[in-house]
Structure formats: C-alpha cells, structure tokens
C-alpha cells in the first residue's frame, strides 16, 4: 500500500467515527459554511480569533479558520456552550459600539486588543448578567482558538495545515509511515506532511 492509498483507506469518515467529537468532525468535513453562528456572530468571532493568535510567519488563527472549528463544535458536541457564545458575542459588540461606535470587527487593531484585554481582566462595565462571566468566557475563547489553530484539520480549523505550517510542526508523521533515525538525529531534514 502506498502512502496515498494508506491515507485514503484510513482517512475521512472512518477516522471521524473513531475520533473525538465525531459529529463535529463530520460536519467540518462536509462544509466550511456557518452552521450555527449567524453572519454577524461569525464575523465578530473571526475577528476575536485573529487577535488571540495574530500572524506568525504570515499565518494566524484568522487564516487557519479557527472560527470554523468553533462553529462546528458549537453545532454539535459542545452545543451547551452555544448560548454563552451568542450572549457573549452580542455583549462584546454592544460594548464596542458604546465605546468606539463600531462592532468589534470594525474596530482598529489597537481598540480590539484593548477590548479583549478588558474582557480578560473582567473590567467591562455593565456587562449583562445573561452573558457568560467575562474572564471565564475569555479563557474559553482563547482555548477554542488555540484548538482551532492547531487541532488536526479534520476538525475544521487549521485549514490546509496552516497552523502547523506556521509553528513549524511537521504534522502527523505516523500517517506518512514515519521517518528515519537519521532524520531524528538531525543528520537529514524532516519533510513536513504538506510536502508529501
């Protein structure tokens, strides 16, 4: 079996059935279109993700499409967090409009950073009771953004292995049949997954 057959045989839906969050994985493999977030929520969340991991080597959580990962997660196994996301995104946009007269996504980068710092510090005044607690929600946003940047592409983020390329992780070497001892020792270079 060559590498291509190997990946075809063990890839796709079969892998999804075994992996964590199988429904979200299947949804992610079906479509990159929003499943549960509306256009405004998607836009706000995408802007948040882009600030949490700004580009390194030219690629950040925006280009890796972390927001798509989160949308699929909220559509299925983590749908318990969906109301918190909806309320939180609305509250953050309200706060942005009140302070700077724009939705979060329309703010300049410095204002977006200020906004998220205030959220992380839990100091946004008049934050609605119905929204998730500021600091806990920020921690969740940060966690999900990192997952969307670096979890395997089958989950809907890290698209085209963008996150792995950005940080210099060569990918799932086990899916390629591994590497040689000379590559481990550094005597020979390791070809990353996307070169295969």
């Amino acid at each position: 079996m060559n590498r291509r057959e190997f990946i075809q045989l063990f890839g796709g839906a079969w892998a999804a059935a075994l992996a964590a969050r199988p429904l979200a994985t299947l949804a992610a493999q079906r479509s990159d279109a929003p499943l549960v977030l509306d256009a405004a929520q998607w836009k706000t969340l995408a802007a948040i993700c882009a600030q949490i991991i700004p580009p390194l080597h030219g690629v950040g959580a925006g280009a890796a499409n972390s927001v798509n990962f989160i949308d699929k997660l909220l559509a299925h196994e983590d749908k318990a967090s969906l109301p918190a996301y909806r309320q939180g995104l609305a509250a953050l946009d309200r706060y942005a409009r009140k302070q700077w007269q724009h939705d979060f996504a329309g703010l300049g980068s410095a204002q977006q950073v200020q906004c998220l710092e205030n959220l992380e510090d839990g100091v946004i005044a008049a934050w609605p009771q119905s929204a998730p607690a500021q600091q806990q929600w920020f921690a969740m946003l940060r966690f999900h953004t990192i997952l969307g940047f670096l979890a395997a592409p089958k989950f809907g983020g890290n698209q085209n292995m963008a996150g792995w390329r950005a940080i210099g992780f060569p990918g799932h070497l086990h899916e390629l049949g591994g590497i040689s001892d000379e590559q481990v020792s550094g005597a020979q270079p390791i070809a990353p997954m996307w070169h295969h």
Binding site: L18, A19, A20, I53, L56, L173, I179, S180, S185
Partner: protein, 546 residues
Amino acid sequence: MKNKIFDVCIVGSGAGGGVMAQQLAAAGIEVALMERGRNLGPADFLAQDELSNMIRQDFFAPDYLESQRSEAGETAQLGKFSLLAQTVGGSTAHWGSWSWRFRPDEFRVLSSEGAIDGSSIADWPVAYEEMEPFYGMAEQALGIAGSAGSNPFEAPRKNAYPNPPHVYRPASRLIESGAKKMGLHPFPTPMAINSRVYGDRAKCMNGAFCAGFGCPVNAKASTLAIHIPAALATGRCHLFAQSRVVEILVGDKGRVRGVRYLDAQGREQELLARQVILAGGSIASAQLLLLSKSARFPNGLANRSDQVGRNLMCHVFAQVNFEMDSVANSFAGPPGNIAIDDFHASDRKRGFARGAVIAEAIESMPISSALKAANYLGAGRRAWGQPLSEYLAKFPYIGGLIAIGEDMPVSSNRVDLDPTLRDAAGIPVPRITHKRHDNDIRLVRYFEQRMAEIAKAGGAKKTWSTDFTGVKTGSGHIMGTCRMGDDPECSVLNRWCRTHDVDNLWVVDGSFFPSSGGYNPTLTIFANSYRVARYFIEQAKRLDVR
C-alpha cells in the same frame, strides 16, 4: 456460556492482567479476560490525533467519569484525575514506554527513611532481589531498548537489554552535553519501543505520537501487541471486550464466585470463575471492591482493614522546557531518549525525602505546547496576541526535561464512591480525594532547579518550568489503593497480591504499590505480574484450578 465456570476471571487487560492471561493460559488454565474498552488495533491508531487523545481524552476513555476534591468535607466535582486507557491492552496501549527497574531502596522506604509526618510510607513485603529475575523476563518480553550499565545508579541487573538504545535527537544532545559539563552521568532512557525489528514487531517509525497514543506499527510494546495475542493463541483465553465488570459476586462461604458485568449492549451478565484477578487499574479496582458490598462484606470486598482505596499515589512531576538556537526535533522519534539519575538517591539534607529520575521529555504536541505559553512568557505578559504568536514560533526549538518524583503515600488520599454522582450506567463514579504532601512540593522545586542547570549548561537560551503541583490533577501513574503488605490490619494484599480477606481474589495492577518509587511504574507492574503468575501456576492445584 451461561453455566460455564472458568478457572480464572481476569478483570482488565493492561500490564497486570495481560501478563496473567498469557502466563496462565500457557500453563493450561482457562481464562476469561474482561475489558471494558473497545478492541482497537494498529489500523485504528492511525486515526488518532492530539485533540482526541490528549486534550479531550475520549479516544481511549470515551465515557469515563471521575470526581475529585482535595480534602474530605469538600464536595467533589466531575473532572479527570487519571489519564488511563480503557481499551484492549489497557494503559499499555497508550503508555510512554519508559521502563525502569526500581532501586533496592525503593522497596524498603520506611526502613530507609524512618517515619515521615503525614505520610503512610511502608516497606514492600518483597525485596528487589526477589523481583530481579522477573524484571529480566519483562525486559525480554517487551524488547526494551537501552544500554545496560550506562546508568551507574541503577539497580544491579543480571541481563543486558535485548535491543540497543534509540538515537539521540538534537535536544537529547544538548542535555547530554549539559549533564557531562556538570559531571553527571547521562544515559539512554530504557524504552519498550523497538529500536530494531524484534520478534514479530516492527522497528519504531519515529512518529513521536507515543505517550497517550496507540502505536500504528506495534513497535511500542503492549499487552495488546504481545501478551493478549499469545494468550488467545492457546485457545484457553476468552477475551470479552466492551464488557464492564460492575460487581464481584460473593458465594456463600465468603469466597468470590465470579463477576457481574455489562456487555457491549449494556445488558447485565454473569460470568462464573473459581478465581478472580483484578487488573483494571488502581482507581477501577478500588471502585469495584467498594461496589461489591454484601451482608458479609458491608464495607466492600477485601476491606476489613478499611485500606481499600487509600494511599492513592500519582507521582509528582517537575517539568522544565528549554529553548535552543537550532531545531530540537522534539516532534520526531521516541518520547525522550536520554536520562540522568545522579539525583535519585534520597538525601534528607536537600530538604525532602526520596528522589526522582530526570529524563528528556519531548515537546511533540502542538496544542499542549501552546497551552503552556504562559509559563514561557511569565506573569507579566498576556498569553495571547503578539506574545502568544512569538512563543508559538519557538515550537521547533523547544526541548524538555521531566523528573518523575516519588510522591508520599498519604492515607487520606483515596478513591471511594461518590455519594451523588453516577455514570451513564447508574454506577457511582470513583471519587478522588487527593492533596499533596509538602514533601512532594519540595522535591519538585529542587528538581526544577537541577533540570534548568542541566539545560543551561548544555547551551539553552532560556528555560522555564511548568508547575503540576498546584493543580487538581493526577497523571497516568496511578498507584496504591490496595497496598501489599504482611500485616492484614494495614494492607489489602499479601505478598502474592492475593487479598488478605478473600482467598480466591487477587489484584495485580498498580494498586499493590506500597510506595511509588522515583520511576515510571509500568515495568514494575509487568515484572510483579510475572512473579505472581509463577506463584499462581505453582499453586494451581491447591487453588482449585486444575
């Protein structure tokens, strides 16, 4: 099988249960091997990824629940304390494979140290000399790659390792260089991963998804790859996968007569056996004994001493990462290839008792690495935005060291049954009550300093620690809960891992450890199981099993 009576029922298929199944079946004994997890194999392991296996931990334990708290009186919250695999092969399917022999003094901690306040330290009823040949058997069976004699501080051994050590990556060489500059004695970490083809198992493919993952080519030793196939080949071992034992059945003479279990469809079944051997791990075995209450055993089976579930240990880890000028290759090869044992021996002048082995820990997992950003950045910087991206860009240059510290057994650190939380089958979840002894914390601080010194001496640009002492978390190294001892008043098992209270009930997983040793525990579970199996087979006639 309704009325069939097996010679032996083994509950759990990891290091303890897998060896027993193979050894007993080979000796002509008919065995039922019960495993609550799925029967996955190398092809399935190709589908693994970090999110499933490490972050969510739902590849190997998809529906497993525990609750935890730090002290009696608190209400326990649902949370993961243990990192254990529930699959055919048990945790040997996903272990990291570091394979050490405990040192002779680690079998007699109380004699070496004297009493320690707040700890229930005890000697083992078995000495190193008795274990030595069984360590040798385990090393040969697993195909340990290592270099005998390269660690001047290791326990005396009669045999060499069956396979040569693994190659060093750039990060291993930095550690080697630093250690040598400090006058220390670095050596290749002994690992149960094939450095060459061994028996019918492949050479390691250097994929670096080892600890927490099943090996797609069986280069990593496991009961799944070695012992269970051998047991099944005898025709005398019957594997029951996705069969969760929920009660040990007690007969009218106070002996056990089999188990009640839930099959793959969730239906209740009974399986009868003349002898029952528990091997489901230190949490599940204690849970099962406590669940098996009866008029004769109102506090749970084998628990007249009130020791079942107590003295839960999980090791204490110190971790230091370091940044190199050039690529570390921490994402390639086996899970850490070099070790240093110079600081292992206990020295009370250091301000704590006992010690640890230091070994290279690879930084192979991108998400887990990203989640440690705050440790690199320090308290003054936010762990997101520009600082997070700066840190993530360092990923290829990061290497790591870990110390596997002997933690103090404490009687009140325990597993019992949660009074309110139940799992999907309606069974009380195991409740973990665990608070670290101060000695554990002092040990960690000392080893953090030594590891940072080694990395800096080797030329690391920067070092930083990750603190595992302050969080409510256990590990994959769950030990204790049914300690072995000569005195039935303060131990659950005798020196053969048979319960003091019930003469046809045995426990051979990590539960039996009276103390945790400063090394990963699995080789000792393997070796002990070979030791108990030999006794069991010698006694088979008297045990009423052929």
